[in-house]
Symmetry: C2
Subunit: 307 residues, 2 copies
């Protein structure tokens, strides 16, 4: 059986152009004449990334937000997209999906310009995809691999709200709205990404979990990284629904679905948008974590690992 | 249950930018500053577009060829692509697929720059997709809708070879190679497309069948179209394996999977590449067919209709 990393290794052997960024970044950066484009593609499979009874308009929103978040992580502004859709045989589902798609595209200012629609085999779970094209705000969009050993590690917004929303929904709750909404209708940070691309040495979005994504940035940069869990920014509603202790912070930092931007920057740099320093890089390798400076063992799972 | 045309109607209501070409063309044409791009996306679902025991390298080849053929139909040269792949749990299949993908990308000179790989639900059929980006050879790539009432209808190459290859394979035969190869390793007409984009008033690739695709071009152009089946170019191997009579020509003209270019042009125009005039447009609507000028009833199926 091929795992995702093993398959990406196979693809890497034929994706040798610099535009592919070794298939190790959130997006590709393709230069055509004097024009650079940022391109990304994300898929969602029913039963894996969403459930059959998730509201279809929210599924569409997350499909768009996941792609736009990848663009934002490269400092790019969404321009246009192509969709891929396997028909479900359920007209109400399909119709609600397109309505949510339209809302998300309006929200993010992205044009739908094409795609493909197919009928999958009877009874097959839905597979949805989007290819998004964005315009970068700097000549060389930040990659995951540019962190320096002296850099701090920063994150925008608050962490764990999407994870918290999912826990609440699974417990049958629909409040607080901010947490439910963080899970159902995540907000990609386009303006933050554009501003941060000016100063970030490395940047990515937090999709699988703060810890695992920070470890990936450190690995791509050939460095080690330390995170103090007590510095992880939690929202008031998160703290109200859970707590502000080490366990809660660890849940937030490994839950994923954050749609925040994680970046490496000079600790003395002026940050153009609000962000919190959660740790820093150092020579070496691997991730180490602490709680108010006291060492903490790494959890068994650093984030949401796709099967 | 939503049909593909009904779903595309839904999408059309949110795809209002001219770049989308009303989702009625082979590809989108996106202009960024002074740079135009041609973009297309095609998906293949196991059990619908290919069979579990089709050679995986050939499935990869067809995925690439289908996308490149859409680019060729707009006179564009392939530049780069992003893939989407649901893992099958079968390492040998995945590995052979990537080998075929590499061969096809080399053949067509297209860079792999990104994509997404996911694990679908256990037992789910594979869904494969490709988004391809090409560079147009003319400022306004030909659409499907530009045919004039005085135009002739032309087609490159020979028709029916892919269909014939499938029939032979299903009958357990592996010869003649030219027909098997037309089915397994179709050749998109990039150079022909670039040359024809200079003179074609409308152009598309023949993917679902000559008759149905000609009817679509006529409909998009607000015209009627006539085709003489006796003019449909058949290969020597096709005639050898089947016949050159009206039935055989009708099979060829409705079989699909041709990867040839269908175009509308002035009947007096100098054709820059070999092509055969199979009919012509006229005021009115609909498709009419004949055999050496004698009217022929339309068959029940004009081509391969995706479910």
């Amino acid at each position: 059986m091929t795992t995702e990393p093993a398959y990406i290794d196979l693809l890497r052997s034929i994706a040798t152009d610099p535009a592919a960024r070794r298939l190790a970044d959130d997006a590709a950066v393709l230069t055509i004449g004097k024009q650079s484009l940022v391109l990304t593609k994300d898929m969602l499979a029913q039963g894996v990334h969403f459930l059959p009874d998730d509201p279809p308009a929210d599924v569409a929103w997350k499909l768009v937000a996941a792609n736009v978040s990848d663009l934002a992580a490269k400092g790019a502004t969404p321009l246009a997209c192509l969709t891929g859709h396997t028909l479900s045989g359920d007209a109400a589902w399909d119709s609600a999906f397109v309505q949510g798609l339209g809302e998300a595209l309006d929200h993010y200012g992205m044009l739908l310009i094409g795609g493909d629609t197919i009928s999958a085999a009877a009874g097959a779970p839905r597979v949805l995809s989007l290819t998004a094209i964005g315009l970068p705000s700097v000549p060389v969009p930040p990659s995951r691999s540019g962190a320096l050993a002296s850099d701090g590690l920063f994150v925008t917004g608050t962490i764990g709200d999407g994870w918290a929303g999912l826990q609440l929904l699974q417990a049958g709750r629909t409040e607080p709205r901010s947490l439910i909404s963080a899970y159902r209708r995540p907000q990609a940070r386009i303006a933050d990404g554009r501003a941060l691309a000016q100063i970030a040495h490395a940047m990515m979005d937090v999709s699988d979990g703060l810890l695992i994504d920070a470890a990936r940035m450190a690995d791509a940069s050939g460095l080690g990284v330390k995170i103090d869990l007590a510095k992880v920014p939690l929202s008031e509603d998160f703290v109200g629904a859970f707590a502000a202790d080490q366990d809660a912070a660890l849940s937030a930092a490994t839950g994923g679905d954050d749609y925040q931007l994680l970046f490496a920057a000079d600790g003395q740099a002026h940050l153009p948008v609000p962000a919190v320093r959660v740790g820093g890089f150092a020579e070496g390798s691997g991730l180490t974590i602490s709680w108010n400076g006291m060492p903490v063992d790494l959890p068994a799972k650093l984030g949401w690992l796709h099967g």
